[in-house]
């Protein structure tokens, strides 16, 4: 995704990038895993363009029973405009509404099915204690949590002022972050100080961060576990070019500021 120059040093700009590229992107995975979400997009075909003045942009494409996020390209059936990154962030918090520029005839989809989709996303990303005891819920929740963390690291490394200085220190290459138990694997590609999160590796990874179980991953990502203990007991295995992981962790520590 493109880095918007004017948004680089802005907290709202970074937060908007995290909300769009890391949080909202989870709709891709959600619509493959959650039966209720799958049902909501069946037979639907829409491209929603998020256009944020002075901030990030993306197309959310709903077609063929899938949701994918990509860089804005070509025509879109719906264009949602935001006056600023702050405006977009308020929309994500449910405190503001977008300005529809195109697709007024499809507002019904936005106000019903798409709203329900985002509610399902919130359901999985903001669990109450009881839900976490449900194994299926827990698996999806953790999967989305790991994706959010990886994509948020990329956003913070590309947009936030300190994040960019940390990202510049990450040696070029690919970091693999995975969970042995579920097989989930996400990658962070560092190239000349630019970070890109992805679900398939563009090259053989140089550094590996491997959680043994979904529980271990969840414990670390939700800050319930002492990460040192997990490393020493090898429930979290680190290997390869560790400076990549150490610098990435400095960015990871900033994620709660933006999510």
């Amino acid at each position: 995704m493109p880095v918007i120059e004017s948004a680089k040093a802005s907290v709202h700009g970074t937060k908007a990038a995290v909300n769009l590229y890391a949080v909202l992107r989870n709709l891709e995975e959600l619509c493959r895993l959650d039966p209720a979400s799958i049902a909501l997009i069946q037979g639907k075909r829409n491209t929603i363009r998020f256009k944020i003045r002075g901030g990030p942009a993306a197309d959310l494409i709903i077609a063929g029973g899938d949701v994918t996020m990509q860089e804005p390209a070509g025509a879109s059936s719906i264009v949602l405009y935001f006056r600023s990154p702050e405006h977009f962030n308020k929309m994500i918090e449910g405190k503001s509404n977008p300005i529809p520029l195109r697709g007024l005839s499809r507002l019904g989809f936005l106000t019903t099915d798409f709203t329900k989709l985002t509610q399902r996303l919130e359901y999985y990303l903001k669990p109450d204690g009881g839900l976490l005891k449900d194994a299926d819920y827990f698996a999806i929740h953790t999967r989305l949590l790991l994706n959010t963390a990886a994509y948020a690291v990329a956003c913070i490394g590309n947009y936030d002022e300190i994040g960019r200085r940390i990202a510049a220190r990450i040696p070029d290459g690919v970091i693999s972050i995975s969970i042995e138990e579920s097989g989930q694997q996400v990658f962070l590609h560092a190239m000349k100080g630019r970070l890109q999160a992805m679900k398939s590796a563009p090259a053989v990874p140089s550094a590996y961060m491997v959680f043994d179980t979904v529980q271990s991953a969840n414990d670390v990502l939700s800050e319930k576990a002492d990460v040192h203990e997990l490393i020493v007991t090898e429930r979290l295995k680190l290997k390869g070019m560790l400076p990549m992981i150490q610098h990435m962790n400095d960015i990871l520590a900033k994620v709660p500021q933006f999510v």
């Binding site: 940390i166 490393i231 070019m241």
Partner: protein, 421 residues
């Protein structure tokens, strides 16, 4: 060879985790990147003597980390310990300093080529920070030039933007150049005229995870000349290298004179003392900075330091460490080559760095190091190692045997390597 077991280390670590942040914090801890995977390493030592330590499970290790540098004569060296004991019977931490402080300063001034005076503290970071303050006091300038990926301790000014617990203001006066890059230093001097108080660097580049790099021909002479011309204080952080390359200081080894030179680690063979030595023209600035600590006048480490320096001179330690380092590293590279493995040796041999170059991710290197540790040779993954004078020919022979067996074990884990050599 039967791999070590670490039952007691693990039990002790569980206890430590309950009452100590990270269990074992800092550079001796298992989560700082030098112990991969942690299961291959012991976490706690029971005792040490000469070139060895024994862990709490009774496993013996030939120790090539030397407590990350302090062990230069061998653990519990009889002469050093005797001098420390004798002073201990007289007094250690007292209201007034002892004669040993003056004697130790005199010995350092006699030994270190660029030293006109000596000041004592406890850790390397104490004296690198003091050196920075003296440079600022002497020049009235704020900025410091550091080498990218250099290490000068853990004080806030040594850290990087985004490191945990660091405010951007604490590092706002730092400027950075790449190692061996005179052009970048010249550019900074032009960009910040009259603002740079000091240039601080180790005598050669000892980055982790990368090959160590020696100074290029005339590098230090050019730096010296630039610093002199522009009134910049040249600080050599000799905390790690000090007395391993040259008893007169590593600046002397590379043919130049520092304005301030920082020592710790090998200074007293493990007794807790560090020293900053400097030129006469900075003595007044050093006096002007109020800088002290509760234990900085302790007499026992001074007595140990005097005994250490005298013994290092008597055994011509740098030459001995160089010979041992040469024999060991050429042996290791040879054993590796016998398995078709490219083991790269870099840096100065008394404190060599090594890296298996066949695998850029260094996972193969980590597996080999782990296999060596499990067989009784204590290396770490991505830090330079250290030679001590107690190491014997037999120890080197044993190390090479272990290295050979460890390569065999690694090749079993990697069938793709079986075809080579």
């Amino acid at each position: 060879m039967e791999p070590n077991k670490y039952t007691n280390s693990r039990l002790l670590f569980e206890r430590a985790m309950k009452v100590i942040p990270a269990g074992v914090y800092g550079h001796l801890g298992p989560v700082e990147g030098s112990m991969i995977p942690p299961s291959a390493f012991p976490f706690f030592a029971r005792e040490a003597k000469g070139a060895y330590f024994w862990d709490v499970d009774g496993n013996r290790f030939i120790d090539y980390m030397c407590a990350y540098g302090p062990n230069i004569l061998g653990y519990r060296d009889d002469d050093v310990d005797q001098a420390a004991r004798a002073q201990g019977e007289l007094g250690d931490c007292v209201t007034l300093p002892s004669v040993k402080m003056v004697e130790f300063a005199e010995l350092l001034v006699d030994t270190v080529h660029s030293a006109d005076w000596a000041f004592f503290a406890k850790n390397g970071g104490d004296v690198t920070s003091f050196a920075l303050m003296i440079a600022r006091a002497a020049t009235g300038r704020n900025k410091a030039v550091l080498v990218n990926k250099g290490y000068h301790g853990v004080a806030a000014w040594t850290k990087l933007a985004g490191n945990s617990g660091i405010a951007p203001e604490e590092i706002a006066n730092n400027l950075y150049v790449d190692w061996n890059n005179i052009g970048q230093l010249e550019a900074l001097i032009s960009a910040y005229p009259g603002q740079i108080a000091c240039f601080i660097a180790s005598p050669y580049f000892q980055g982790n995870f990368v090959d160590n790099q020696l100074p290029e021909q005339e590098y230090w002479q050019k730096v010296r000349s630039l610093c002199t011309r522009h009134g910049i204080v040249l600080i050599i952080d000799d905390v790690r290298c000090g007395f391993r390359l040259d008893l007169a200081g590593s600046d002397h080894h590379y043919g130049f004179e520092a304005d301030l030179i920082c020592f710790c680690k090998a200074l007293a063979n493990g007794y807790n003392v560090s020293a900053l030595c400097g030129k006469d023209e900075l003595k007044s600035a050093a006096s002007s900075v109020f800088y002290t600590g509760s234990y900085w006048f302790s007499a026992v480490p001074f007595a140990a330091g005097i005994a250490t320096l005298n013994k290092l001179k008597a055994i011509q330690a740098p030459q001995r460490l160089q010979e041992l380092g040469s024999k060991l590293t050429s042996g290791l590279a040879g054993v590796a080559a016998g398995h078709g493995i490219d083991l790269r040796i870099s840096g100065e041999l008394p404190m060599w760095y090594m890296r298996i170059a066949n695998d850029p991710s260094q996972v193969l290197h980590q597996e080999w190091i782990a296999a060596c540790v499990q067989r009784g040779v204590f290396f770490t993954n991505h830090h330079n190692h250290f030679i001590n004078a107690a190491l014997t020919e037999e120890d080197i022979a044993f190390t090479l045997e272990v290295a050979d067996d460890a390569f065999r074990a690694v090749k079993k884990m990697h069938p793709e390597l079986e075809g080579v050599s």
